[in-house]
């Protein structure tokens, strides 16, 4: 077991466009029964940056991201998103906040019983209730063009490959113009070429929609291509924080096992 102490600190806002945090997490704790998954996690996501959270399987990365959007309720600590403390929001407030956050699920989570068009219209109908059908069609076309899958609009999710499902899922996430994007292992289960495509799509989305992104992954290639800043979780705590270059130069054995 590696007991080396983190060697890189105070790297907040490296490579970012702003010093204003859009997400601020302080001393987050979450347990499942007697198992403490998150013990004391504090981090900030700044406006316009891509923050990659690395960690081994079971290190609490997905739990962290689900606490941010309150799919899970934390046991302790505070999460502030766009100036609002998430745990204090009522269901209406939470609904409003969720309109500003996009979440790309690890499995894509496309609705099996709906076509691609219906999948894309689903959040639009609920979050942008004043849109006409024509405007909705325009938005669907725009996001499908962006992910390069315009010809799949009337297909069912079961007719799409894994990579295509991830792209459609990303299109569904960005269709409501979120300010923050949360990616839960966006390249898991994809071949290297498709993973690279998804990584460049993440960068394109950030440039085009001016979003801030929190990317949970253990895919180093994805981290290299997308990260402005990297945080590594270990044993439910932030183990290390820095840029990709700083991680690459690290002599810490755990970091080296990831970046070899």
């Amino acid at each position: 077991m590696n007991t080396a102490q983190p060697e890189i600190r105070n790297t907040a806002s490296i490579g970012t466009t702003s010093d204003k945090p859009v997400i601020e997490i302080i001393s987050l704790k979450k347990s499942f029964g007697v198992q403490e998954v998150l013990k004391d996690v504090s981090l900030q996501l700044f406006d316009g940056e891509n923050l990659v959270v690395l960690g081994r399987s079971g290190s609490g990365k997905s739990v962290l991201i689900k606490c941010i959007i309150r799919l899970l309720d934390p046991d302790g600590g505070t999460i502030t998103v766009l100036g609002e403390e998430v745990s204090r929001l009522n269901s209406a407030g939470l609904g409003e906040l969720r309109k500003k956050i996009g979440f790309l699920f690890q499995s894509g989570a496309l609705y099996d019983s709906m076509t691609v068009r219906q999948n894309l219209e689903f959040p639009l109908r609920r979050m942008r209730k004043n849109l006409t059908q024509k405007e909705m069609d325009g938005k669907v076309r725009e996001v499908l063009d962006h992910v390069g899958l315009s010809d799949t609009v009337d297909k069912m999710p079961s007719q799409l490959s894994g990579g295509m499902r991830k792209r459609i899922s990303l299109a569904r996430t960005i269709i409501v113009d979120p300010k923050i994007l949360l990616y839960d292992e966006p390249t898991t289960g994809l071949d290297p070429a498709t993973s690279d495509e998804i990584s460049s799509l993440i960068n394109d989305v950030q440039k085009k929609y001016k979003t801030s992104s929190l990317i949970i992954t253990h895919d180093i290639q994805c981290a290299r291509s997308t990260a402005n800043r990297v945080i590594m979780l270990r044993d439910g705590k932030v183990y290390l924080e820095g840029t990709v270059e700083q991680f690459e130069r690290s002599t810490d054995s755990l970091i080296k096992s990831f970046f070899k």
Binding site: F32, G33, I101, F103, F105, L110, Y111, D112
Partner: protein, 279 residues
């Protein structure tokens, strides 16, 4: 509507706190685990009822579910209904003939089908098809994070998935039962014609001469309960499924077992209650 909603919210908060306490105190025992499941089920029913009366009813999804539950179950219910009437007639006829009461056959079959056999057997068939379908569908949606995706899309999964399915089952299963009863009578007429000769009009007029409106009422009332039970159990088992793929199978299986059992129990209760008023 504000006060009951706030009450339900308070109950949910209290229950979350209690669950947290049980979780922190280690693995719950059998009794506390059973009580937790019962309390969760009651809260699930409470949330469903609350969401049923909220604004933004998902009418399109409700219509789709009515089609799925009603129309797509028709072939199965048709075959069941015909065979039910046919077998009942073939089995009963020799006994009735022995006692010289062959003319009572249509009335006896009608009363049996309408009061008991039609509702219960059709409900059990629906528990198998619809209950397992709901359990498996919602279970797989839970496993593949589709329910979470709905939640982050500002959609209310309880309203979209559960309310629509429970209401559709509550509405469509009584219609399926009436349809099965009608086909059962046709099957019975066919059965009566195997060894005899009776016209359709005569058979039905003899049948309805022995059936009163009061025979229909308890059957119709209990068929709504059957529909509700099948919808609730299927949705509850699927919606609360665990995270692994194994949970989908467990959800589907337990939805069938529990809803079938509850159909029988509800039948007993409703028969006892309606008997008080009818007799």
């Amino acid at each position: 509507m504000e006060k009951p909603a706030a009450g339900i919210r308070q109950m949910l908060d209290l229950w979350s706190a209690a669950r947290q306490t049980i979780k922190l105190s280690g693995k719950p025992g059998r009794i506390s685990s059973f009580l937790m499941q019962m309390a969760n089920a009651v809260l699930f029913i409470g949330s469903t009822i609350k969401e049923t009366f909220s604004r933004d009813f998902e009418f399109k999804e409700f219509s789709r579910q009515c089609f799925q539950i009603g129309y797509k179950t028709l072939p199965l219910v048709s075959i069941t209904g015909i065979i039910m009437g046919l077998v009942l007639t073939i089995q009963s006829r020799p006994v009735l003939v022995k006692f010289g009461a062959a003319t009572m056959l249509p009335g006896m079959v009608a009363a049996s089908l309408i009061r008991e056999m039609g509702p219960v057997i059709t409900a059990l068939i629906c528990a198998g098809k619809i209950g397992s379908g709901m359990g498996a569908e919602l279970g797989s949606m839970r496993v593949t994070e589709q329910i979470d995706a709905m939640e982050v899309s500002s959609a209310n999964p309880m309203r979209f998935l559960v309310v629509t399915r429970v209401l559709a089952a509550t509405l469509m299963i009584p219609l399926l039962i009436l349809y099965a009863d009608a086909l059962g009578m046709l099957g019975s007429w066919a059965g009566a014609n195997i060894k005899g000769d009776v016209t359709l009009v005569l058979f039905f007029s003899q049948a309805f001469a022995h059936v009163r409106f009061i025979d229909f009422l308890p059957a119709v009332i209990k068929s709504f309960f059957f529909g509700g039970v099948i919808g609730f159990v299927g949705c509850y088992k699927g919606y609360t499924a665990g995270r692994g793929t194994e949970s989908v199978g467990i959800a589907a299986n337990s939805a069938v077992v529990l809803s079938s059992l509850l159909v029988i129990i509800v039948d007993l209760i409703v028969v006892q209650i309606t008997d008080l008023f009818v007799s």
